[in-house]
Symmetry: C2
Subunit: 213 residues, 2 copies
């Protein structure tokens, strides 16, 4: 089967995003969780991200692509996002988990709408884990109810998370036009990137509401 030219790019960026999310969530859990049970709950999510990384890497190998080479064009953008969004406390870490996971799921869903059947089953496998970050929502809601002043601060934090993500995504899209075309081609090309970003922003708004922010 012939894949669209951006498929290796798509799998590469998602693979590196999952590998990094795993490491950052593990670090946040270890340094910020207020109890061992909370630490384990966030590590559980981190390990799920690692399982997604494994699926994506194996699929790259099946397509005859070197996983390292497929990921490397995206290392700088993903690392930059994490460097600019290092949580300062446990609630920030939970908001980052839920928001970051949500953005990733939006991309998977967008990909499954437009994409190559060759990776549709993989996307389905990843989306099975949808809702695993729900525990983060409940903790954040409870945290904000207990300390209403924290709500405004966390709302700003969430806005920064999504803003930095869209800014990195925009840079990636202009550096990798084939990847960008893959996500929007069914709707008519480059101009529709802004529609895609508007959609992500809308979904983000729903997530904010879910957290009570």
């Amino acid at each position: 089967m012939k894949e669209s030219p951006g498929v290796v790019d798509l799998l590469g960026v998602l693979a590196y995003a999952e590998l990094s999310a795993y490491a950052r969530m593990t670090e946040d859990a270890t340094t910020l969780a207020p109890s061992l049970a909370d630490r384990a709950a966030l590590c559980e999510l981190a390990v799920t991200e690692y399982a997604h990384f494994r699926l994506l890497r194996d699929r790259l190998a099946e397509l005859g692509a070197a996983p390292d080479e497929a990921m490397s064009p995206f290392v700088a953008a993903v690392d930059a996002w994490h460097a600019q969004t290092k949580p300062a406390d446990w609630l920030q870490a939970l908001v980052k988990t839920y928001v970051g996971d949500g953005i990733a799921h939006d991309f998977y869903r967008e990909a499954s709408r437009h994409l190559d059947p060759s990776i549709a089953d993989l996307v389905d496998e990843v989306l099975v884990d949808e809702g695993r970050s729900q525990f983060a929502v409940e903790r954040v809601r409870a945290g904000v109810e207990a300390h209403p002043a924290a709500g405004a601060r966390l709302a700003l934090w969430a806005r920064r998370l999504v803003g930095e993500a869209l800014s990195q995504a925009q840079q990636v899209a202009s550096a990798r036009p084939e990847l960008a075309l893959l996500l929007v081609e069914a709707d008519g090309g480059q101009a529709d990137i802004s529609r895609l970003f508007a959609k992500l922003t809308e979904e983000h708004g729903k997530r904010m509401a879910a957290m009570g922010l």
Copy 2:
């Protein structure tokens, strides 16, 4: 079934050791691995440690113990070991993985010799993963062959790893006599701790030889 009084302690210390090993190996992989493939190889081991943590935590819960409470007496000792043995480079990280994993396996094996049948199956499940850190041995051997001067430095490093581990273990053993008795009781009590430690040192020597150190 009635468990020996130290069983909850044993499961608690192993659970926290696995949870920490997972986090530290993930951090070392992310910050020190020379390539994305190496990073993924060490993360793969880290995720296996997490799976062991999950088994131990679930077993604690089945025994009616609160996992957090069972782990908390050992947090300081395990964290101290990691703080004193932070690898400075990739080869140190690999040596730490192999040596640390080896010491843990010696404890599991010692436990399976003396222990309560109630946890024997769990120990077997963990020991199935024996040999997963073999890739570390091969990388270290190759690294030492390429740079013989690194060998002496890594040998000192490995001695420090095991020395710090035994020193923490000794403190844990005197703070938790029931745990210590559990590991040695079949051989006649407290005095045999030194025999156990001698055994661990002997196994450590074999691992050093395997790495060419």
